[in-house]
């Protein structure tokens, strides 16, 4: 073949000459550079921010552009009126824009787990806008449209039964807007003592990224750093309108000022300097150890469109009597040691566990699981509650410092998979602050997989996620407990012991003689849940016909068959709140069923109830739109920052998803370098290189 030579460059020769050694190196280097360039070009490091997913989970607040008022919520005022076992609460949020640009304020705030939010009003420039209840998606679309059109709009959505989100769009510079929301809740007595709770802050919820958009979706919440006080004010007043004198008023959470104590018109105001970083808890008794219990009837007027009559039965159980013989039990303690438990909450949990584990009987067996990002069992199988085993467990718990995420679902799955002896009763005791977003998954897991155990939940901290704690107890046929400080631990541990040793009423049945009832909650009157503690039996429902007859409750107590007969009283015209309480109870029952089934199978039923009874639910929202177009400038969305709950550390927000999952990091760089230099020096000096 004739060689064709290129005129200038050897690469133009045909055929190509074999590459020299240098040429081969150059080709290799070029390939390597090309691979590097491709890698860099497709690297996520160059991703556009616009493609980034919106934030998930809690994060720390950043001040940002000074022309935008990032703290539009100036104050919250709460007026509670308690009459008998029903509390009517009005919450007034006061927004003012002190910046130079229009804003949309977004504020995530807590509510009571039993709250039936039934009305909302917006006061703007002397006008009062009544909010309407609408299907959630439709309300969201209308709100977004109003915001784009420059109208002021307020949208209230439910994120959880105890967490709500308020969006107020187009607050113009200088605007002063007040949003009032009204809710009703039942304040039932436990062992003769009443407790009214008003949560003031949502704790930072650990959000697992992989669950984004699912049933566990939760708004990202900005938080102030540990020790930073909330910039917005908080006022709280509780007024009583009780049939009996109110006494022994005290608050374990706040400093309070009480007037007219010992009268039916007692009044309480909060006078603490820092007020809105923890649950407000007010405890009281009625005179003479009596309780406002019994059967209350409300007769609906045809004029209000409902024509429905409602009843509420609150029946106190008998006193618990310890049985002569107590059968041995197996206890499994599931303890949250995540970042949000770091510090005071974990210290409180340690005191509680010392009380719980330290008082087990020698015939009992127990095991302890510690969980955060991962979980570990203290023993492969439950061990006898001997002094040595108890001391070892307490010593291990005492070593924990708290850190990392809160993977509660895998931890409970592991508990569900534990083998169980058929003849031993097991009690699972979950100790956590509940700062997660996977409540429904937890309830489903407890109901489906821990059916052979009683599950008790202890909420630890000053601002516990009570929805999770109460839901776990409800799904696990146990009881919820809240421990806000170490001094309460011993009493709550003692309460649990009594409850497990001596259930108050079992095989509980109810019947109405002479009163026609329907739509009763709970529906199965012949198989009511066991009464474990001093909590009353609650029955909600509707009635028709004549208001007469009696309610008969029968159950097995330690002393034999126990019967309670509650006569029907004349309807109370003021008990209009029973409409909302019944609907709230039915919605809760449907939501529990939905959580068990997964998906949104009860959406239609819950939406219908929400729209008919004007209640805020997971599928219905309140919306109020001002019809005046007030601005053409696009509003900047501002997320109102929340203070960290009292005694919760920055570790709860840190985002160290896997911090407490064990890993295998390499040793410290400087130590490694010392080892390498030492080895090199030793090897070379032996070979006489220097």
């Amino acid at each position: 073949m004739r060689r064709v030579r290129g005129p200038v460059f050897p690469l133009l020769r045909h055929p190509l000459a074999p590459l020299s050694r240098t040429g081969r190196v150059v080709v290799c280097v070029l390939f390597a550079l090309w691979a590097f360039a491709i890698t860099v070009a497709w690297s996520p490091a160059f991703a556009d921010d616009a493609q980034a997913a919106p934030p998930e989970g809690p994060y720390f607040h950043v001040a940002g552009d000074p022309s935008v008022d990032r703290l539009p919520l100036k104050s919250t005022r709460v007026d509670a009126r308690i009459a008998g076992v029903i509390a009517d609460v009005t919450v007034t949020q006061h927004y003012r824009n002190e910046g130079q640009r229009p804003i949309e304020a977004r504020y995530v705030f807590p509510g009571s787990t039993r709250a039936a939010v039934h009305a909302m009003q917006v006061r703007l420039a002397g006008r009062v806008l009544d909010a309407k209840i609408e299907e959630k998606q439709r309300a969201r679309i209308r709100h977004d449209a109003a915001r784009r059109e420059g109208k002021t709009s307020a949208l209230l959505e439910q994120e959880r039964p105890n967490v709500f989100q308020m969006n107020v769009a187009n607050i113009l510079p200088g605007d002063d807007i007040q949003v009032e929301l009204h809710y009703t809740e039942l304040v039932a007595p436990t062992e003769g003592r009443y407790e009214f709770v008003f949560p003031t802050v949502v704790g930072p919820r650990y959000h697992r990224p992989s669950t984004a958009g699912g049933s566990s979706s939760f708004p990202a919440t900005p938080h102030l750093k540990e020790g930073e006080a909330s910039p917005s004010g908080f006022e709280m007043t509780v007024r009583f309108a009780s049939p009996l004198p109110v006494g022994e008023l005290r608050s374990p959470s706040h400093g309070i000022e009480v007037s007219a104590e010992g009268t039916p018109q007692a009044e309480v105001t909060v006078n603490d300097s820092v007020r809105n970083n923890r649950d407000f808890i007010l405890q009281y008794r009625l005179a003479g150890e009596r309780t406002a219990t019994g059967l209350t009837l409300f007769k609906g007027e045809a004029a209000d469109g409902s024509g429905e009559n409602f009843f509420l039965a609150v029946v106190e159980p008998p006193k618990a009597i310890a049985p002569a013989q107590i059968s041995p039990r197996e206890y499994v303690f599931v303890v949250d040691i995540s970042g949000s438990m770091h510090g005071y909450p974990l210290d409180t949990a340690k005191v509680l566990l010392r009380n719980l584990i330290g008082h087990l009987r020698p015939t009992d067996t127990f095991n302890v699981m510690l969980f955060s990002g991962s979980s570990q069992m203290l023993n492969p199988t439950p061990v006898a509650a001997t002094r040595a085993n108890i001391d070892r467990a307490i010593a291990t718990i005492d070593q924990q410092r708290g850190g990392g995420s809160t993977e509660i679902v895998p931890a409970l799955k592991r508990i569900a998979a534990l083998p169980k002896a058929g003849d031993v009763s097991r009690s699972v005791i979950v100790v956590t602050d509940g700062y997660v977003t996977v409540e429904n998954e937890v309830f489903q897991l407890v109901r489906r997989n821990l059916g052979n155990s009683n599950v008790f939940a202890f909420g630890i901290g000053t601002s516990v996620n009570r929805h999770l704690i109460e839901g776990i107890a409800r799904a696990g046929q146990g009881e919820p407990f809240i421990v806000t400080k170490p001094e309460m631990a011993a009493a709550q541990a003692e309460r649990l012991r009594k409850m497990i040793d001596a259930p108050v009423l079992t095989q509980l049945k109810a019947r109405f003689d002479g009163l026609e009832v329907y739509d009763v909650e709970p529906a199965a009157l012949s198989g009511l849940p066991d009464v474990l503690g001093g909590r009353p039996v609650l029955l909600y429902g509707k009635w028709r016909g004549q208001a007469r007859g009696q309610l008969v409750l029968e159950g097995q107590a330690a002393t034999g068959t126990h019967t309670d007969v509650v006569p029907v009283r004349a309807p109370d015209a003021d008990a209009v709140a029973l409409r909302h309480l019944w609907a709230r109870s039915r919605i809760q029952q449907l939501s529990d069923q939905e959580a068990l089934e997964g998906g949104s199978g009860q959406r239609e039923a819950i939406t219908a109830l929400g729209l008919h009874y004007s209640l805020l639910t997971q599928y219905t929202s309140f919306i109020a739109i001002d019809q005046v177009v007030r601005t053409a400038e696009a509003a900047e969305t501002v997320n109102q920052p929340l203070p960290l709950p009292q005694d919760v550390s920055n570790n709860a927000v840190g985002g160290e998803v896997g911090a407490a999952v064990p890993s295998t990091p390499e040793p410290a760089a400087w130590l490694s370098l010392l080892v390498v230099l030492g080895l090199v020096g030793a090897a070379l000096s032996r070979r006489g290189v220097w």
């Binding site: 860099v40 592991r414 990091p665 130590l671 390498v676």
Partner: protein, 292 residues
């Protein structure tokens, strides 16, 4: 009789070589010494040096590059007397071109890419001044190791390394009778989750092993080829050592009581020492022969 000397030993007498060899120790142009030349080139690359200094100061990377710089300066000082009288023109031209390219790239490329070009530029300058008969590649490689590489290597190469490490560890544990499986870069061992996260990837071990290889090769091997041929073995040793380290740690971490931090550290150092000892053996495979 012929006087001989090591390239690392300062000669006490003038070199008298066989006929035809270049006079290594003959007088150099006095107007610019090689050290001054290299210093000038380094000064021309000052934006990259300033960026590296910032990376060291702001804690965004491990300051291991300082160790590479120190080792390079020590080795150069020890070989100062062997530097060429006149630099190799081709390497010098390449160094100059890369210097221009590195500085021009500041307007269009990420800082690490620019600094890498700058490191290549300096490496070329070293190649120009170092005698052809001694090992030059290890010194040039030390220039590259002086870059703040760890964080970037973790970012671009950490994930595949972690996957490979986790999978090999899972197999090793299964072979040892553990219930182990890999899921992404996490491992489930005896029901306990253990993650192989970024600090477990072995990137730091790789840097240490390469550093060790460069220093040992610079002091022992005769030619660059010997050094370059042994580099793949260093990579294999690092992977093996990291898998072994990870396997032992995962097995111990999966116990209910976990593992004490000091024991964890000690196991990591022992694995590193084992890998570096093997690297030294590999690099010293060809015994250093004194210049004849």
């Amino acid at each position: 009789m012929q006087l001989t000397t090591s390239m690392w030993t300062r000669p006490r007498a003038l070199f008298v070589g066989p006929a035809g060899t270049s006079p290594v120790l003959a007088c150099r142009p006095s107007y610019l010494s090689p050290a001054a030349w290299l210093a000038l080139q380094a000064a021309a690359l000052w934006p990259h040096g300033a960026w590296m200094a910032r990376r060291v100061q702001d804690g965004s990377d491990e300051p291991l590059g300082l160790a590479a710089v120190a080792a390079l300066l020590l080795l150069l000082a020890a070989r100062a007397h062997t530097l060429r009288v006149s630099p190799h023109t081709g390497w010098l031209a390449a160094g100059a071109a890369l210097t221009v390219a590195a500085n021009a790239a500041l307007w269009m490329a990420p800082p690490l890419a620019c600094a890498t070009l700058a490191a290549f530029a300096l490496a070329c300058a070293l190649m120009a001044w170092l005698p052809a008969r001694g090992p030059r590649a290890p010194l040039a490689a030390l220039v590259v190791l002086a870059l703040p590489l760890i964080a970037s290597l973790q970012y671009y190469g950490g994930f595949p390394l972690r996957v490979v490490t986790a999978q090999l560890s899972a197999w090793a544990l299964q072979f040892a009778g553990f219930a182990a499986e890999r899921s992404g870069t996490a491992m489930l061992v005896e029901g306990r989750l253990v993650v192989v996260d970024a600090p477990c990837s072995g990137v730091q071990m790789a840097w240490m092993a390469w550093f060790c290889a460069c220093v040992v090769a610079a002091l022992t091997v005769r030619r660059d080829g010997e050094f370059l041929r042994r580099l793949p073995a260093v990579g294999a040793l690092v992977l093996l050592g990291n898998v072994l380290r990870n396997t032992v740690l995962v097995a111990l971490e999966s116990r209910p009581q976990g593992l004490d931090a000091s024991v964890h550290e000690a196991i990591g150092l022992a694995a590193l020492a084992g890998v570096c000892a093997a690297v030294i053996v590999v690099m010293k495979g060809v015994r250093h022969e004194r210049l004849a």
